[in-house]
Every structure is written in C-alpha cells, then in structure tokens.
C-alpha cells in the first residue's frame, strides 16, 4: 500500500502542521511515513509545497503524475502542484486567493480538470466564520479525510490533531476539522 499527497500553498498557511497531522495519524497506525517540505526562501511569502508519502515508499518526493491527492491551500497554488496528480485521482481546491505581490491583478486561471475528481471549498471562509482564519489548515484536513481515501480514519486524524497542536488550540482545531468534514460531504 502506498498513498502519496502533495500540498501546495503560500508561506504562513499552516501547510506543515496539516502535513504533520496526516503523517502522525498514519504513523500511529504503523505505516512508514516520509515528508519533504520547502524551507528558507519559500517562507517569505513564496509558494510552499509539502510532500507526504505513506506506506511502501523509499524517497520523500512524490513522482510527478503519481500523486493520489493534491491539495491547494490557495487557488493558484492548487494548479501549480497539479503536475503531481495522477489521472483519475483527487484534487482539493481552496477558493481563497492570495495575489502574488509581483502581479497587478489575480490572474484568470482556467484548466480542464476533467481528468480529476475535484472538490472545491472555501476553507478560509469557513475558518473565518469559526472566528480564526488560522484554522483554515484544519478545515482542509477535515475535507481531506472526508473526500479522499486517506490511510487513516477520521478518529485517528482527530487523535493526531490532539497530539500535534498546543492544547489551548485543540478545541478550535477539532471544530475546524469537523466543519471541513461537513463541507466535503
């Protein structure tokens, strides 16, 4: 068994924590886990990418065209990582748009997504409604657990959230997770 995920977004969106939660849940189940993340320059508002590989794997990088799931924490970033997704597999797109400073206006992006199974949601709005945009990442984790066949149950992921976040944030993070599950139903 092997399950490959690529998460893309913008520095500061909490992609690393989201990746860690999924990885922790899989690790608790006894699966081999590897994660590769971008560091350094990319943290300064640039594109951020995280590879999460679960199961029978060797390297930390997901081969292009072979991912089971691609998640865009930001609209444009979803498409930036689309080259990793295998045909027929799942794509989650957060509607939230963050304009690159180097562009005048947010570009119109139109790609044929007919090859993929797509879930669109506005995780950032859901998080804002919960009172804190910072929990967008956990809304997306909830949506991932509902929409994709992650090799970890929703209960296991909730346990992993409790393990991974500071205790004072556990409640709102778990609430965000539940809202994400609902948005994907």
């Amino acid at each position: 068994m092997k399950y490959d995920i690529v998460l893309g977004g913008v520095g500061g969106q909490g992609i690393l924590l989201a990746s860690q939660v999924i990885a922790q849940a899989a690790m608790n189940r006894g699966l081999k886990v590897m994660m590769a993340e971008t560091h350094g320059m990319a943290q300064r508002g640039g594109s951020v990418i995280s590879h999460v590989r679960l199961g029978d794997i060797y390297g930390a990088l997901v081969p292009e065209g072979h991912a089971d799931l691609v998640v865009g924490f930001e609209y444009m970033e979803a498409f930036r990582q689309l080259k990793f997704l295998a045909k027929g597999k799942k794509l989650i797109i957060n509607a939230h748009r963050i304009k690159p400073v180097t562009l005048e206006t947010y570009p119109e992006l139109d790609f044929d997504l007919g090859d993929y199974d797509v879930l669109r949601l506005d995780a950032s709005r859901i998080a804002l409604n919960l009172g804190n945009p910072i929990v967008t990442n956990m809304v997306i984790v909830g949506a991932m657990s509902q929409f994709a066949q992650l090799p970890a149950s929703q209960q296991e992921i909730k346990d992993a959230i409790r393990e991974s976040v500071p205790s004072q944030f556990a409640e709102i993070d778990l609430k965000a997770f539940e809202e994400g599950v609902r948005a994907a139903q």
Binding site: K32, M41, R44, G59, A60, M76, R80, K83
Partner: protein, 575 residues
C-alpha cells in the same frame, strides 16, 4: 527531520563540541544542538563564520573530544582553508564535518557538489539517503574519523536534511574524556618540512581505508550503482518499470570500495545514478579501465546532471537506457510567486531610502533576506555573489566607475565576512557608502544569534558588539538611523553619498518577526486616497493591494507605517 536525526546521531555518538554558522539546509542541526547542549554536556557555539566554526570544532577534536561542525555547501568554501590543512594534520577525537548541499538551489547561489571537497582534501565522505541513515551514518562517521584519525565529511542534501520520517533511536554513548592538547610541532605546525611528511601520511591512510557501510541487494543482469538519496529513486524506478537489477548502494562515496570491482565484473551493463556531478561515475569508469573489465557504464549520459533527481527523472533515465518512450510531465503555466520581504520588514524602508538618496546609483549586495531587495519595485540590489561580497565588490567598483555606490550588508553577514573588506576600503581609500541593514538577528536562516545580539548559542548573555564601534574605530564616519524614520534615513544617506568619502550608515530595527519587535495593528487607507499608486509601486508590500482605483491595506499589515510616511495625500493612518 533529517537534521534532527543528525543532531541525535551526534548525541548518541557522545559528541562534546559543536560549532556552526547557520545556512539552509543545515541550520536545524545546530538549532537542535543549541537547545540540548547543556543537558548533554556539549559545548556549542554559533561562530562568526564557517571557518571559525571549523577551527573551534577542530580544536575540540585535536584535544580528543568528539566534535562536529555544520554548514551549508557554500559554507565550506569559507572554511576551506582550515579544512584542507586539517585533513592532513588529522585529529584525535572523532571529527565530523557536515556539508549540507542544496541540489536545485532551493535557497542558495549555486549547486556545487561538495563531494569534490572530500576528494580535494582526501578525507572519507559518507552520504546518507534518509533520516534514519542520517542518524546512523553520523555515528559511523565519528567512528571512522576516530579510527583513521582524520576528519570525515558527512555530505547531505536538502532532501535528506529536510525530510521528515520515523527514526529508530539508539543508546547515548557516555564518553568521559579529559581534553588535552599534546604539543607536537611536527604535526600541528604545517611548515613545509612537516607538511611533506603529513602529505605522505594521508595518502597511506587513505590507501589503507576500508569500510563495510556499502550494501548490495537484488538480482538481475543489469547492475545499478546508486549513492545517497539517489538509491531511493532507483528502488522506486525498478518497481515502477518492473525491472530487475542488482543494486550496489554507495554509502562511502570517497574512497570507493574495491567491492565495486567484483560488482562490475558481474555485469555487462551498469548504470551509475547519483545527484549532481559524475563523481562516482568517473571513478567507476577509472576502475573498469584499470581492471580491464568489459562492462558498459552509463551515467550522466542518461541521468540529468543539473538539479535534484526524483523518481520521474531516474525512471526516464532507465527508459532511455531501454530505448522506451519517456514519461512526459504535464506542465501548467502558472505565474510565479517568488519570495518577498515580509510586511513590515525594515529592509523595505531601507531599500526605498537608497533609491531616493541615489536614484542612479549602483547597489551591490550579498546573502540574506535583504537579497530580496532585487525584486521590483524595490530594485535596490544589483549584485549578490556571496557572504560579505558587497563591500569587497564595491571596493573594486568604486575605483573603476564614477557612479555613486551604496552597498548593503546584513548585520550577521557584516560580522561573518564584512570586516576585512571594510578595512581594505579604509586602507586603499575607496569611496562609497556601506549600509549595514541591522535587524539584530540572522533572519533568513531562522533568527540565530550573532556577536551583535548579546546572546550565545548556549543561551548566555554576553557583551553586545556594535558594528558602529568597529567602523568608528576604523576611522569611518558612521551614522545610525531607524529605517522606519523614512525622511531622516533618506537625508542621512543623501549626505553620505554627497560627501565623497567612505561612509557607513547603520539602519537598525529588529526583524519584524523577532521576539520583541514592534508590531502594530494594520494601518487603514482613508477617503483621501487619490489612487496614485505610489505606495503600491514603490514599496512592493504584500499588505498593500489596489481595489477599485484605491489602495487597500490587508490583514498582513504589521503596522510599520512606512506607507503612511510616503503617501503624498496623507491618506494612510494607523495607531
């Protein structure tokens, strides 16, 4: 994380001395050691640069303590003088030199392959390919170093340093050693008479080198030799393409084991898969030639040389070998989202002031967050060669062109490599303006302290060194400004440029994300906004957007107020 695994490996091996200058992708090794040094009785220091770090840790190893120095690949360029000589002098306690290379230049100015350095110095080089190996090989490196009494390079790459995975821990070795420097001028004083003997010794040592770290697995008529992280991609490629092969996994990439000769003898075709330079490949070819083995060797003719490998690229190399159609990667045309200076970053205001003070000037710079000043609209960085190069480059440039020159250097870079070129500027009467962008930390690599911060790697408070005291002692007129006082900064810079003498202007304000930095609520744009776009077009701040003909400040704003100071309509207000 691979870097935490290396730190753990060092602790398990009983390391007692660690020194470092931060640099991506190596920084989390010393960051981790810094947190646990006291607990495990380790002496740790953030050194002023990699050469000093190398010498500090080397001293530990010479006195018999297990010691480690960590740096990014280009850090070894800085440390190379000490590195080369120390290889021949040798050590008493194990000495591990971690060189974290950065294939694909995720956060670097080049992608040099430091395995060349191990060959240049003629010391063993070990290459882990996973977090587990990162820990295990660190321990092995200490053992090998102690066995052969010479430094050992642990060569990692970004994908090893920054890969997270489960790592099985081992016991922590308790080594009670009393450090002692045994005087031995014939060894430690490298005058030619002594160094000639050392030179012959190191050749003998390396000729006698043996290690059992390499492994062989699998069966097949095809042979594959893979080193470091490339091994993982080979394993996945064989599964993906359903190809059988015998794999020789190279853990020690210098010197190569003679076991490779038998391996070559068993196969008609051998593919060498390694990231970056054809180092193993070249040596394997040389072995085949020397031993007269009738084997066809494939390497960089089918495996890409530039940038990091992945399973897709390695699989395509195997397809080329088998004359199969290549797998095309579907590319989507997405506008770039380059990294930029953070909202409220004091460098933004400094660069704005530079452009105002010398609009037609030349702006040499160097390595740090501030390199991002090259991005339009700031466009106030015209060159970046390496750490500290802005001042040395300006020394030369000011002699050859008549343009006004304002060069920039960060505080950490100034201590690292900025002082000797500034002395040169005084000595040789070069005329330009040095702006020290002092954000009171090493920001780019994650806020490590340095001599100007008054905190050591062990968390101790010490006397701060102020750059202005150094520059004034050199006889250079020095001004200290707050870059967020935009008007004064521009005035001081203008005056400095006009003075036609060597001048230093220190722009001091804490990195916006440093503990204790002043952060305020977002500013707001009032109805006075005329939509002139000046703030948007001159600052390039991610917190300023333009919506329906007017500027809007978003939630990213940290309240630095620089935009309010430059707005010609006074249409931006804050706390």
């Amino acid at each position: 994380m691979g870097n935490e695994a290396i730190a753990r490996g060092a602790v398990e091996a009983g390391v007692k001395v660690v020194a470092a200058y931060p640099g991506t992708p190596s920084s989390e090794i010393p960051n981790t050691i810094s947190k646990i040094a006291k607990k495990y009785g380790i002496y740790f220091e953030w050194s002023t640069n990699e050469k000093v770090a190398y010498e500090v840790a080397f001293a530990g190893a010479v006195t018999g303590l297990r010691s480690m120095v960590t740096m990014k690949h280009v850090g070894l360029n800085v440390a190379s003088d000490a590195f080369m000589a120390s290889a021949e002098v040798g050590v008493e306690g194990g000495y591990v030199v971690v060189s974290a290379d950065d294939p694909s230049l995720h956060s670097s100015q080049n992608e040099q392959d430091n395995r060349y350095y191990a060959r240049l110095a003629n010391i063993p080089c070990i290459e882990p390919g996973s977090p587990q190996e990162a820990k295990d090989y660190t321990i092995k490196a200490f053992e090998i170093s102690e066995q052969y009494k010479m430094p050992v390079m642990l060569r990692t790459t970004t994908r090893v340093n920054h890969t997270r995975g489960d790592v099985e821990l081992g016991d922590i070795l308790s080594l009670e050693r009393t450090p002692k420097f045994e005087k031995n001028p014939r060894r430690y004083v490298t005058v030619p008479t002594n160094a000639r003997v050392l030179r012959e010794n190191i050749i003998k040592k390396m000729d006698s080198f043996k290690s059992d770290l390499d492994t062989i697995e699998g069966k097949g008529s095809l042979g594959v030799i893979a080193s470091g992280i490339a091994y993982n991609y080979v394993k996945e490629t064989l599964l993906l393409l359903d190809v059988e092969a015998e794999i020789y996994k190279v853990a020690v990439t210098h010197p190569l084991s003679n076991a490779i000769i038998d391996f070559l003898n068993r196969h008609d075709d051998v593919i060498v898969v390694e990231e970056l330079e054809p180092i193993v490949e070249t040596e394997v070819r040389s072995m085949a030639q020397k031993e007269n083995i009738p084997v066809t060797i494939y390497g960089k003719d089918i495996v890409p040389r530039a940038f990091e490998l992945n399973t897709t690229r390695v699989a395509n190399a195997f397809r080329k070998y088998k004359n199969l159609p290549l797998e095309e990667v579907r590319e989507f045309d997405i506008p770039a989202r380059p990294p930029i200076l953070c909202p409220g970053c004091p460098h933004r205001a400094s660069f704005y002031a530079i452009r105002k003070a010398a609009p037609k000037g030349i702006y040499p710079s160097g390595i740090g967050c501030y390199t991002l000043g090259f991005v339009p609209p700031l466009s106030a960085v015209d060159s970046c060669l390496c750490m500290g190069a802005s001042i040395g480059f300006s020394c030369g440039l000011s002699e050859f062109v008549s343009d006004k020159i304002i060069c920039t250097i960060g505080d950490s870079s100034f201590f690292h490599a900025g002082i000797p070129p500034l002395l040169d500027a005084v000595y040789n009467k070069h005329t330009f303006v040095v702006m020290i962008l002092d954000n009171e930390t090493t920001a780019m690599t994650g806020h490590q302290p340095h001599p100007g911060t008054g905190i050591t790697g062990m968390g101790e408070s010490v006397r701060k060194i102020y750059p202005e005291k150094l520059t004034e002692a050199m006889g250079i007129k020095t001004d200290v400004v707050d870059p967020h006082d935009v008007k004064r900064t521009i005035e001081v810079l203008k005056e400095a440029v006009k003075s036609d003498e060597l001048r230093v202007v220190i722009a001091r304000r804490k990195c916006i994300f440093l503990e204790g930095a002043e952060r305020k609520n977002p500013y707001v744009v009032t109805d006075e906004c005329t939509g002139c776009r000046l703030c948007l077009n001159q600052l390039g701040c991610p917190a300023i957007e333009f919506v329906e003909g007017k500027a809007v400040i978003n939630e990213l704003c940290n309240g630095c107020g620089v935009c309010a100071q430059i707005c010609p309509s006074n249409a931006i207000t804050g706390d």
